[in-house]
């Protein structure tokens, strides 16, 4: 039961983009087309799940055992950077079009605070192994979901008559704020520590 609650919390209630405001960079940068948004979301979800798994193992089996828990920041970043490199190589080989569509935003997943944030949350909230995996996966799903919503809205807006001052980033930021407000409606449905 706890696993399901964690998943729903990570996806909707405490959405990593709209509630914690992490991962805004790819959110604004890749959400103008649905195809690239989906690609980015899937890549990020994969990295998040794998990062949560590997970092949990490293934290509990190496850092805690040898009494060096303060190394979590450095080692987590190392893990995340390597994982993103592998995902990048993978995408470059099997989908060159997606690779070019994502462009610079693919290596930027490394510095994406959402991933480091979720690994640090996992340590802070003292999740066990299974809970960490579900939390990572749920955050990824929530990230993809919000990216998709934003891409859909922005594709529709292409035919709208937007005032000159608002075109592009300003309107996107306003919409993000409204989306965040909307998602606040979910708070209180589930309470997680």
């Amino acid at each position: 039961m706890n696993i399901i609650l964690i998943f729903i919390a990570a996806t909707i209630v405490n959405n990593i983009v709209l509630t914690y405001f992490l991962g805004i960079c790819p959110f604004l940068g890749v959400s103008s087309k649905i195809e690239s948004a989906v690609g980015m979301g899937l890549a990020a979800t994969f990295v998040m799940t794998l990062a949560a798994t590997v970092t949990w193992l490293i934290y509990h089996n190496i850092l805690v055992r040898f009494n060096v828990p303060f190394l979590e920041y450095v080692s987590f970043i190392l893990v995340i950077a390597s994982l993103v490199q592998i995902v990048e190589m993978f995408i470059r080989k099997f989908s060159p079009d997606l690779y070019r569509a994502l462009g610079i935003y693919l290596p930027l997943i490394t510095t994406n605070c959402a991933i480091l944030g979720l690994t640090l949350f996992m340590v802070l909230r003292e999740y066990n192994f299974l809970e960490s995996i579900v939390f990572g996966f749920g955050s990824g799903v929530g990230f993809t979901l919000v990216l998709l919503i934003m891409a859909g809205i922005r594709e529709e807006l292409e035919f709208a008559d937007v005032p000159e001052a608002f075109k592009g980033a300003p309107l996107t930021l306003i919409i993000s704020g409204l989306l965040a407000l909307a998602f606040m409606g979910f708070s209180g449905i589930i309470s997680t520590s």
Partner: protein, 277 residues
């Protein structure tokens, strides 16, 4: 053990572990790309306009290096780019045929007759779907979809009609695609005969009487242009006159034909002598 030593060993160990994994995956997932593709890509204009028929300049570069496309396939780059690419690949360079966009409507904002009041999306694309307010169903709306899509700033709206800058236009064809009424066409272009660049400024193939009611500068299909010019530079397509741009630059008396047109439909695209830089 000293905490510093432990930290060093832990981080060093992790670093080594992941370096090995990365080295292995690099070997396994290696993508071999011919280095010439990068050079050809640099030589291309990089506008990703689609005029060559490929989705991006990168696609064309790949095809050229593989031999599936010609070095002179990029109409936007012109002869200079074709030569550069030919040099990179070590082959003979060929001439690039220049084309430019020609506009076939002469009904400016004052002349065009309206049949309704349109308060919809102010783009040509949307207006065409709904029907729009212009009486002529082949005529220019003037909302400027062609201007928005031009990557080279070569087209501007003047009095509600698009005007193409013959120097800046690269013949990429984006405006042709953007116009929902097919008013713009890509035609052969002779740079040395700028002032001789003319157009039949009408797109309406309906019968003369019908056209006359909705536009005072529309082509009525009287055939005078074809008859006055003997060499086939002007020809009729249904009740609409058209120009054969492979012949008209050699026609000696196109200005006579222009004068004889009863509805003043034939327009010159360049008003004074302009020197191409």
């Amino acid at each position: 053990m000293n905490i510093i030593v432990i930290s060093t060993i832990a981080m060093g160990g992790l670093g080594l572990f992941f370096s090995v994994i990365l080295a292995i995956s690099n070997r396994k997932l290696y993508v071999k790309e011919d280095p010439r593709i990068e050079h050809v890509l640099e030589a291309l204009p990089g506008a990703n306009c689609g005029a060559c028929g490929n989705a991006s300049c990168h696609d064309l570069a790949q095809k050229i290096v593989k031999g599936e496309a010609e070095a002179n396939d990029c109409p936007v780059g012109g002869s200079e780019v074709a030569e550069n690419i030919a040099n990179i690949l070590g082959i003979e360079s060929k001439e690039v045929i220049t084309k430019i966009a020609i506009v076939h409507c002469g009904a400016s904002e004052e002349i065009r007759k309206k049949k309704a009041l349109y308060i919809g999306g102010q783009t040509c694309k949307v207006a065409d779907i709904v029907g729009g307010e212009i009486a002529c169903s082949y005529g220019c709306f003037g909302y400027g979809d062609c201007v928005d899509v031009c990557l080279f700033d070569a087209i501007e709206m003047e009095e509600g009609l698009p005007v193409v800058d013959l120097v800046k236009c690269t013949g990429c064809g984006q405006c042709v695609v953007a116009c929902p009424r097919n008013i713009i066409s890509l035609e052969l272009f002779d740079k040395t005969k700028l002032t001789a660049t003319i157009t039949i400024a009408c797109n309406n193939p309906d019968k003369g009487a019908v056209v006359r009611k909705i536009c005072e500068v529309g082509c009525i299909g009287c055939n005078l242009c074809e008859r006055n010019c003997g060499d086939g530079s002007f020809y009729m397509d249904e009740m609409l006159a058209k120009i054969d741009y492979s012949k008209v630059y050699n026609c000696e008396h196109w200005d006579v034909v222009m004068e004889k047109c009863p509805t003043n439909t034939i327009k010159r695209l360049v008003k004074e002598e302009k020197v191409l830089v």
